[in-house]
Amino acid sequence: MSGQTVEKLAYMANQIARNMTFDATPAASIAEHITAFWTPVMIDMLLAQSNAGLDPLAAEAMAKVAAARAHAG
Amino acid sequence: MTLVRISDDALALACGADDVAAAFVAAGCTVERVSSWGMHWLEPLVEIDGIGYGPVGVADVGPILNDDAQLLCIGRIEDYPFIAKQQRFTFARAGKTRPLSLEDYAANGGWQGLAKARELGSVATIAQVTESGLRGRGGAGFPAGIKWTTVANAAADQKYVVCNADEGDSATFADRMVMEGDPFMLIEGMAIAALAVGASRGYVYIRSEYPHAIAKMEAAVRASAHLVAPFVLEVRVGAGAYVCGEETSLLNSIEGKRGEVRAKPPLPALEGLFGKPTVVNNVLTLAAVPWIMANGAAAYASVGFGRSKGTMPIQIAGNVKYGGLFEVGFGVTLGELVMTVGGGTASGRPVRAVQVGGPLGAYHPPADFHLPFDYEAFAAADGLIGHAGLTVFDDTADMSSQARFAMNFCAVESCGKCTPCRIGSTRGVELIDRIRARAGRAADKVETLPQMHNALKAERSLGDEITLLEDLCETMKFGSLCALGGFTPYPVLSALRHWPEDFGAPADREAAE
């Protein structure tokens, strides 16, 4: 995978985060959203990149995604 | 200074009243322009101190002022037989007041009806109109009170009163005279109607052929707006369509649509102007209302004949000696109107026919002179009163030509919506033309084609053609959507029935058969 695609995934995650900022439990909802709509490959790609440029809320959500995957995996 | 009264109604103007008035002013007189008395053969009629002179030309001004015009003098107008014989309810002020003078109107009984209606309220006002027996003067003779009740009972956020002033029938001018001579009376009548049914807006739809009536009504509406408020009234002008005298066509025209006739139901009383409950009444109907309200239903109903209550302003015109407006209770006979009141023909020749009720009315021979002026009596004689206009013809009239005219008028004025009127009137003209040529009809180019196997190849006789005309009239009479196509057969069939010789029958017809 090229860096450009990771960049795009990070953009997507940030965009989701921006739009869910006012959710009652934003990080959890963002994590849930990403798990529901992204392929595991996409999630893994983003998680694999440590400095993907995620905004704090998106990063928090991705951490939750990672935790859930570790738990399930 | 001498006070001279001269009418400014369109008919007086057409006869030169303005020039006469100017001449009196030039001679140092004060001239008051008043409404017309309705004695048209005397127009321009000049009144000085109650004494009438007419018809007056500019050259007569000097002699009149010099008391040297005995031939023109008719004496006291009020006592003149043509006036004295009338029962003037609607035209009580005719000749006496300045049309646009609120002062004159109020001083002569104006606004009393409206005041009464305001005092009585809606229900009692409608009751008065119902009890008076007032029937629509537009031609159909439908009881006004019933129509008003329907509108009053209809629930709606907006209701209208519409005055049908599209007086298009030849030989009728009473509406015009009301609007030009006593416009506030019509406005008062409409305001009473509006109050009775709960309408907030009203329209007077006037034909464009009446520019003077339009101007007077517009001025009168402006001048009286404060007196009829909150009722708001507006004048609308027709645009050259006889059929817009039909109420639904008139409503379409006000709405800005083609003046096509609407199918009924729904009745305009329930779905009228802009789809709202609407009173549509003729000028004379609405103009009768102030009198009824001011003088009481009983006083009105005490005059008349049978189910035709009150007075009728009858209009006498055509080839007649004393043409004009003659308001009288129903029941006067046709012969009296034509021969006595009207004085017979202007040409001095024998009367051959009288058309009663305008272009959709029947032609009556002198044999019908016994008929009393009454909706039912005329209906029984295959005729109709219509808007009560009489057109007198002398013995030079060709009645098949008049029948052709009736069909042609229908063809010219048909809105084109329904088939019997749209196509039938044109076929009628063609058919009467052939009949008038006294020819039967040979099979035409198409009918003679060998592939036209069902077409009649033999010549159609004059008798066949007359039968076809009768059948066409039946199709139009019972098939048409409105009175234009439906009543055109009246003049046609009456001409055919009473004057068959003008159609080449019976002799030709018998020969042909």
Binding site: - | P265, S414, P420, C421, I423, V446, F478
Partner: protein
């Protein structure tokens, strides 16, 4: 089915609680009060002669053939305008009536051509029928009277002729144009005998007039005056099949009228519940593409896209394809495979494609074109209400008092529904339009929006939040409804958010470009004007905040209690005929049919049991992700049925790169579309006329598609998919699409009660159809939201990252036009192109002036993604700063310009906001020229004329 006219009861059905009983020729009949004598007579099986009456138009009373006699009533009233009364005794056939009717007919025929045998309406003419019915034998007037027989025929419309010599002036065409279509393009000119039908001004012909060629006038005409050219050429149809239109999401029911295997005409079916007998220019007339010479009828393959195509037989094509799929799966893994289902195809075909991908390819990499149009609808309405679908049936609009249209242009995009909406508006319903453009709905004859909010593209959420601000802060919310039906805490959270000053119309005006007073007025009207219904389209979804906008709309409806009954609701106007169905069928990578997530084990188990394979519990790739993965080298093969993603998807260059990177692109379509330039396998598709199946329209209405003719490519699309499945080793044995629907019903709770037998019997069914709603569900959320309590979602306005600036100072928004459809694959291959030969750029006079651009000039349209050239149309329909174009023509490829920005929740592309610059141009851009050259090369077919000589 044989060929006969659909029954006509003369006057429209009347709704009334009261029954009236009367006697027609002695036969007793009870009808709703207000019903006409004519209709009552027709209901008893009698037929009163008539010409001007027809039951989809208000009674008119002009022909005077339907006269009857009624006891106690004077004269001979017209039965079409006379309502029945209790106990009324009507006589429809008496000697007097017979004579009158014959008299009327004699008049008609005295001005009518006599060449019935050579007339195109011979034996299909109401005048002829009625002449026979009244027994006319002789026209005593002769045939030489004044007449209209010499009037010339107007042949200007490409689909129908107007021959005034045959006109009987019944006004049915004029009334149909007014009442049914609502265009008011026709009138009667003149009066009396000179009355004639006129299309607009005296100097207008049909083509130059305001006519939109919907066909209502042609359908209404009782003679051959308005007649389809096809009927004149081919002759009278001999059989007819009722089926469903394959154009937009309205889903009109048509009767395909056939002569042999030749389609003669498509006539709207009065019993069609979506269209109620109406049609538009596309469904009615634009079906010629089905027989277009460019249709590909033979399968074709090639190893690489620089080679010419090689025609092969079906077996070779399918074997080759199966080998490639197996090879790629073996080489790169199952997730290197994927597919795209089509909103153009039937539910059954779509279901099979996603089944092939999931069960055969072994991956959830399946998506559908709804990705690029209504995926935010699915997300937004499921989140808030619990169902990914509109809440109403189309009939519902008849009970609406306030109609709010946002981001939709129904008169162009959904014309038949627009006509029904306009009818309601003419009856007095109020209208709010939220759209950057002054669409026809904002102002067109007899229609005027009470509020038009011409917002800056991309600010939907801000406008909706401002509306919500007014509703909440002015106390217009329906608290009782909210407390009963929604989550009160969520509502309060939302109400607090929208009430903030920063969400007030005044505060947001500089952002939205909409005056605060207009927003306040519109909010008050929607909240308190009676039944409020919201209709929206792609102007809502195709944004970076598409899903937020859908949820903001849902919030408004819930806050005002406008959900759960007739006349209200939230209604997406679906673009393509089967968008709803394609979504329902499990075409999304994360959902199985009925919108059930693949991670749900119980649902998977159901499918696994039925299909006998394991289903991946993780979501697959969406279309943009597939293309990303392809450029990245991990996605290698795709099966695309009935879609042209190269032309329809955004950022064309990116799509092209993705396709070019794949090893096996399988296109299953009617024509060599733009995507096929990058394909290795072409499988010829069949048109909707050639197959059985069902489509589901925007009102969740499942409607039968019936085979009108045999597929000229040999197979219905579902058969091709089945053969491909068998070729890769699946054991499929469907013998008819009804078996596929039975499987869908077994696997999908909302479809439990759907089967072909019922669809045939009832015409259509609106899902959910199951034990809880055995007769289907015209209105959703009647007794409660599907998800339980309605969910208010806070939708913060997050501006798109697409910004104007010095390089790209204008905002481009795209859309469609009435005569063309989507990528134009069908409509461009019909005479519809006469109305729209090319995509035009709408630009405001001020912007045009600043750039020295005049109408008709070539302009360069450039964004950061790419550039193209097209001609300008200077108009104030667009606001200053906004430009607009359609995307129907591949020569323009408007999507070269659109960007890769997309909806945050669903990745639905942001077609509606692209920062662009317009400059004068001399002709096609380099990209256009390169593309054209590449396309020409790619379309070569060995051994045919389509291979260039050199």
């Amino acid at each position: 089915m044989g060929y006969e006219r659909q029954a006509d009861f003369g006057t429209p059905e009347v709704r009334s609680d009261q029954e009236v009983t009367c006697f027609i020729d002695g036969r007793e009949v009870s009808v709703p009060a207000g019903t006409t004598v004519m209709r009552a007579a027709a209901l008893t099986g009698g037929s009163i002669p008539k010409l001007c009456a027809t039951d989809n138009l208000r009674q008119f009373g002009s022909c005077r053939l339907c006269l009857v006699e009624i006891d106690g009533m004077r004269g001979t009233p017209a039965s079409c305008t006379t309502p029945v009364a209790e106990g009324m005794k009507v006589h429809t056939q008496t000697p007097r009536l017979q004579k009158l009717r014959k008299g009327v007919m004699e008049l008609y025929i005295s001005d009518h051509p006599l060449d019935c045998l050579t007339c195109s309406a011979n034996n299909d003419c109401e005048l002829q029928d009625q002449a026979a019915a009244v027994g006319l034998r002789d026209v005593r007037f002769g045939y030489e009277g004044e007449n209209h027989l010499g009037a010339p025929t107007d042949t200007s419309n490409p689909y129908f002729d107007f021959d005034p010599s045959k006109c009987i002036v019944c006004s049915r065409c004029v009334r149909a144009c007014d009442e049914v279509q609502g265009t008011f393009a026709l009138t009667i000119e003149g009066r009396g005998f000179g009355s004639k039908v006129s299309a607009g001004l005296a100097s207008d012909d049909y083509f130059s007039s305001e006519c939109v060629s919907c066909g209502a006038c042609v359908q209404a005409c009782p003679t051959a005056t308005l007649q389809e050219k096809a009927v004149k050429e081919i002759g009278k149809p001999e059989r007819a099949v009722v089926t469903t239109c394959a154009y937009c999401g309205v889903g009109c029911t048509f009767r395909a009228e056939m002569r042999g295997e030749q389609l003669v005409r498509m006539v709207p079916w009065k019993d069609g519940k979506a269209n109620r007998g109406h049609s538009c220019v596309k469904g009615r007339f634009a079906w010629g593409y089905a027989q277009h010479q460019e249709r590909i009828l033979s399968p074709m393959i090639r190893e690489s896209i620089d080679q010419p195509w090689r025609e092969v037989n079906w077996e070779e094509a399918l074997t080759y394809t199966a080998n490639e799929i197996n090879r790629i799966r073996d080489q790169y893994g199952r997730n290197a495979l994927g597919g795209i289902t089509s909103s153009r195809c039937t539910n059954e075909e779509t279901f099979l494609v996603q089944k092939l991908i999931r069960a055969g390819f072994g991956t959830n990499n399946v998506d559908t074109c709804a990705r690029v149009c209504h995926s935010p609808t699915g997300y937004g309405l499921k989140t808030t209400f619990g169902t990914s679908a509109g809440t109403q049936d189309f009939d519902s609009v008849e009970d609406s008092d306030v109609v709010l249209v946002i981001g939709a242009n129904p008169t162009d995009g959904h014309p038949v529904f627009a006509s029904r909406m306009k009818r309601r508006l003419r009856q007095g319903a109020k209208l709010i339009v939220i759209d950057p453009r002054r669409t026809d709905l904002v102002r067109s004859p007899h229609i005027a929006a009470d509020y038009h909010l011409p917002l800056r593209p991309g600010t939907n959420v801000a406008v909706l939040t401002a509306l919500a601000h007014v509703i909440v802060t002015e106390g217009l919310a329906d608290e009782a409804f909210i407390r009963e039906r929604c989550d009160w805490d969520e509502y309060q959270h939302w109400a607090e958010f929208v009430s903030a000053e920063r969400n007030s119309p005044e505060f947001l005006a500089p952002v939205t470009g909409v005056e605060a007073d207009a927003i306040r007025g519109a909010a008050r009207l929607y909240a308190s004007g009676g039944n409020g219904a919201i209709y929206y389209g792609l102007g809502v979804t195709e944004h970076s905040q598409g899903s937020s906008t859908v949820m903001a709309i849902a919030n408004l409806a819930m806050a005002t209690g406008n959900i759960g009954r007739r006349g209200v609701g939230v209604n997406p106007l679906r673009g393509q005929n089967n968008v709803q169905g394609a979504c329902d069928m499990g075409s999304f990578p994360h959902e199985l049919s009925g919108y059930r997530h693949v991670s749900d084990a119980a649902t998977r188990a159901l499918f696994e049991a039925e299909w006998g394979v394991a289903i991946d519990p993780e979501p697959g790739l969406r279309i943009p992700n597939m293309l990303d993965a392809a450029t990245d080298g991990t996605f290698k093969a795709i099966y695309i049925q009935g879609e042209d993603i190269l032309q329809s998807d955004p950022d064309t260059k990116h799509v092209a790169a993705g396709l070019a990177a794949m090893e096996c692109v399988i296109v299953h379509d009617l024509f060599l579309n733009e995507t096929a330039n990058y394909a290795h396998v072409f499988l010829p598709g069949s048109t909707f006329l050639e197959k059985n199946g069902t489509f589901t329209n925007a009102e969740r209405r499942i409607q039968p598609v019936r085979k009108v003719m045999e597929p000229i490519n040999g197979y219905e699309d579902w058969q091709v998919t089945q053969e491909l499945a068998r070729a890769i080793g699946l054991d499929w044995n469907y013998t008819h699409p009804s078996e596929i629907m039975d499987e869908i019903a077994r696997l999908t709770p909302t479809f439990t009660g759907v089967n072909y037998k019922r669809l045939d019997a009832e015409g259509s069914l609106q899902w959910p159809v199951n034990d809880k709603a055995p007769d289907g569900s015209p209105i959703m959320h009647v007794d409660g939201f599907v998800r339980g309590r309605g969910k208010f979602v806070v939708t913060d306005y997050v501006p798109t990252d697409e910004r104007t600036g010095p390089r790209f100072p204008l905002l481009l928004t795209t859309g469609r036009i009435l005569s063309q459809y989507n990528v134009g694959a069908q409509t461009r291959r019909t005479a519809n192109s006469v109305w729209h030969e090319e995509d035009l750029l709408e630009i405001h006079p001020t912007d045009a002036e600043n750039r020295g651009v005049k109408s008709g000039d070539w302009v360069r349209l450039a964004s950061r993604s790419g550039e193209t050239t097209l001609r300008a149309h200077v108009t104030d329909r667009v606001a200053p700063g906004v430009v607009y174009t359609t995307f129907h023509h591949p020569a323009t490829q408007a999507n070269v310009v659109t960007t890769d920005y997309s909806d945050w929740a669903t990745n639905c592309p942001e077609y509606k906001v692209t920062a662009v610059q317009i400059t004068p141009s001399n002709g096609p851009s380099d990209w256009q020229e390169d593309y054209e050259a590449q396309a020409t090369l790619s379309r070569r077919i060995e051994g045919t004329a389509m291979e260039p000589a050199e």
